[in-house]
Symmetry: C2
Subunit: 78 residues, 2 copies
């Protein structure tokens, strides 16, 4: 049984680096990671904001938002 | 064979949260995570700075520094 983690990004170089290194390094025995490109899937911006995401890339897991470096503000993808 | 990842922190609540959620979630089949408290182990501040760490908590892996949220500037632990 795995827990869901969502990696929100904007397709930016900082985002790609964080996805390749951090998001893809999560233990697959514990987490299933969904990658959401908010630049192309704007319908999910509200959900990301509700989870506490203020900038991208960000990993939402265990009920909290973990912003990883800074690629773009969430306002930039609205 | 695992790769080493180093989680640098300052013992702050933001650091503890990032360690519990993100650092401890890395796949143990791929990464061995070392946790370094720079507030109590100041001898390693230079090594963290050389790896690109500017604030804490930060995860250094695959040759890059990933700052996770913001707990403290690295200058605060010098």
């Amino acid at each position: 049984m795995t827990t869901k983690a969502i990696f929100y990004h904007a397709g930016c170089p900082v985002c790609v680096s964080a996805e390749n290194s951090v998001a893809n390094a999560l233990d697959p025995a514990k987490y299933t990671v969904e990658s959401v490109h908010l630049g192309t899937d704007k319908s999910r911006v509200k959900e990301a904001e509700a989870a506490g995401v203020k900038s991208l890339p960000a990993l939402v897991m265990n009920g909290a938002a973990f912003h990883i470096n800074f690629g773009a503000s969430i306002d930039a993808v609205k």
